[in-house]
């Protein structure tokens, strides 16, 4: 039998990789992709907990996370398109309107 902690460990590592991707990439699409990666790592741990605790709530949460991820992807990509129309570049350094 696989212990629960293995799943959690896997989930943590994948999450960390997602965070690294988010921080180091220049391409906005890649940043988005990293976010999806993080969401997936969380999903793994939720599903694992659901299984080991014999509770359905974890799976339901995964379901909602996927819903939100879909919405978020649609909106985020739309923002990227709008940005691209404004300034034909999708690198993170170029998008710095918040710079103080």
């Amino acid at each position: 039998m696989v212990p629960l902690s293995w799943y959690i460990l896997l989930s943590t590592v994948v999450f960390g990789i997602g965070v690294i991707g988010f921080i180091i990439r220049r391409n906005l699409i890649m940043i988005f992709l990293s976010i999806e990666l993080m969401l997936n790592s969380v999903n793994i741990s939720l599903a694992a907990f659901s299984h080991y605790l014999q509770s359905m709530t974890g799976q339901i949460l995964v379901f909602f996370v996927i819903t939100v991820a879909a919405a978020e992807a649609a909106i985020g990509l739309a923002i990227i398109i709008a940005l691209y129309r404004h300034k034909p570049s999708i690198t993170a350094e170029e998008v710095n309107l918040l710079k103080g």
Partner: protein, 638 residues
Amino acid sequence: MLILIPLLPFIAFLINILFGRRFIRDRAHYVSIPAVVGSFILSVGAFMDVLDGRVINVNLYEWVISGSFVVPVGFLIDQLTAIMLIVVTSISSLIFIYSVGYMHGDRGYYRFFAYLSLFVFSMLVLVMSNNFLLLYFGWEAVGLCSYLLIGFWYERPSASNAGKKAFIVNRFGDFGFGLGIILIFLTFGSLEYLKVFSEAGSILGQKTSIFGLEVETITLICLLLFCGAVGKSAQIPLHVWLPDAMEGPTPVSALIHAATMVTAGVFMVARCNPLFNLSHTAMTTVAVVGGVTAIFAASIGLVQNDIKRIIAYSTVSQLGYMFLALGVGAYTAGIFHLYTHAYFKALLFLGSGSVIHALHDEMNIQRMGGLKRYMPITYWTFVIASLSISGIPGLAGFFSKDEILYRTFLGGGTGKILWVLGTIAALMTAFYSFRLIYLAFHGDFRGSEEQLRHVHESPPVMTIPLILLAIGAIAAGWVGIPSIFMEHGDRIGEFLAPVLGRPEAEGAHSTEVMVMTLSVIVSIIGILMAYIMYVKKTDLPERMGSALRPIYTMLYNKYWFDEFYHVTIVRPVLRASEKVFLGFFDGRIIEGVVNGVPDLIGSFSQRFRRIQTGLLSSYGLIMVLGAIIIIWAVIFSR
């Protein structure tokens, strides 16, 4: 039902002020007139109730509860309130109707009716309240409405200045009034009329020390309250605002600055008669201030040329009469005069409004003349009002004025002196009233050709209120016929007796006849003098003016009261404000804080803005750092 009496005008105010600009505009009177007529009808109902002997004192709602300090919103409807209700609502109704014609086409038409409705509401709260705080609320609210309406044509600097003047001068009086109410609460622990009045006797002899000066508490209370009355009712030395208040539209002058609001002081003193009765000093003060104001204002009225200012000084003078009556303990006479005065003075103002309307805002009577031919209704109603104010037998003013003079005459040594003042003032009253009539309505027209061509009688919507008020100016006095003419003729005195009491001193019938005859003779002399000077020998005023140059100048300049105040109060205050408040407080402290705080924040921001790179990734990095710190803290804090 009774709550509706003040509420109806308030609803009209809300509707007009909220929807007036967009939707109602020129139809504002369709909202306000039914409301105020409705309150009139309800007031008549309330009056009937009181006539049957039902005095109502109800608390509707506890307004302020703070420890032992409880102030309810409550109404007291007794004989005094009932009379005031009738006066206020009946005159308001007529003036609202008149305003439809007078204010026709004005840009602020809806605003005018909104303010006027708010005024009626406030005035009704003032007269109906059953405690001092609600009275004070009404008192200040009518002051606010007065301010708004004096400055109604705010584009004119003179109008907005007059509004400010009225408000600020009233502040002096109201400050005293407020202190008086506080002192009442400190002394009696309550602000409700009935409780205060029933315990008033128990504080006799109690002293209060102000700055080491021992003063009888009751006297202090009365004098402070009277302070408020002096301000609101334009008595010396706070009378200066009322003539300037004539910058407002004429219906406002008629309603607020003649018939109702300015009589609030009289009403208040009459209402507090159980307190005033206990203090001889306060009563004498009231009487003297009233008597001096009566003759003083009348003398100024003799030489003024602005039609509305003449009537304004006449109002001040008549208010002086009312206080004279109150001061000698003849509360009934004072309220009686308040009631008759409301009709003939409103009529005089509306008549002058009709003249001003016809002559396109001409107010100088030297440039009028001969208007009798063109505006017969205005002329005749004006004459009735003038006869009434002069005290010609049979008309309303006669009964109330003679009651006052008679009561004053009975009032001991001081009373005799004040009676002489009052009688001379009566002579002056008759003189200036008829000077106005002869200059404005008789002789030849002295204005421009242009004005003459447009002179016309006012529309029925304005003349009908004039006629109704003229009926009032004739008949209003018939409820107070002296007992020498008719047994139980003084019905108003008997009606008010439960609240105001009866004057104790009763003189012989012969004395009363003597006083009466004298004042009638004096009035007729006044009218005749005016006739001689302004109809027969029209060069006489000119010669008299140059012969008595110093007196004329003094009267024409209103005893230099305004100038005096300007030098002693206005200028020092302005100077001090500029130096101390503008220079020091505003310049250093307020601006120091106002500018200093943003500067501080700005310099901090300058330092911290570097964190804000605008780079998404660095925000992510910082977030991760934050998470590390939190986890670290959690792990190693165990």
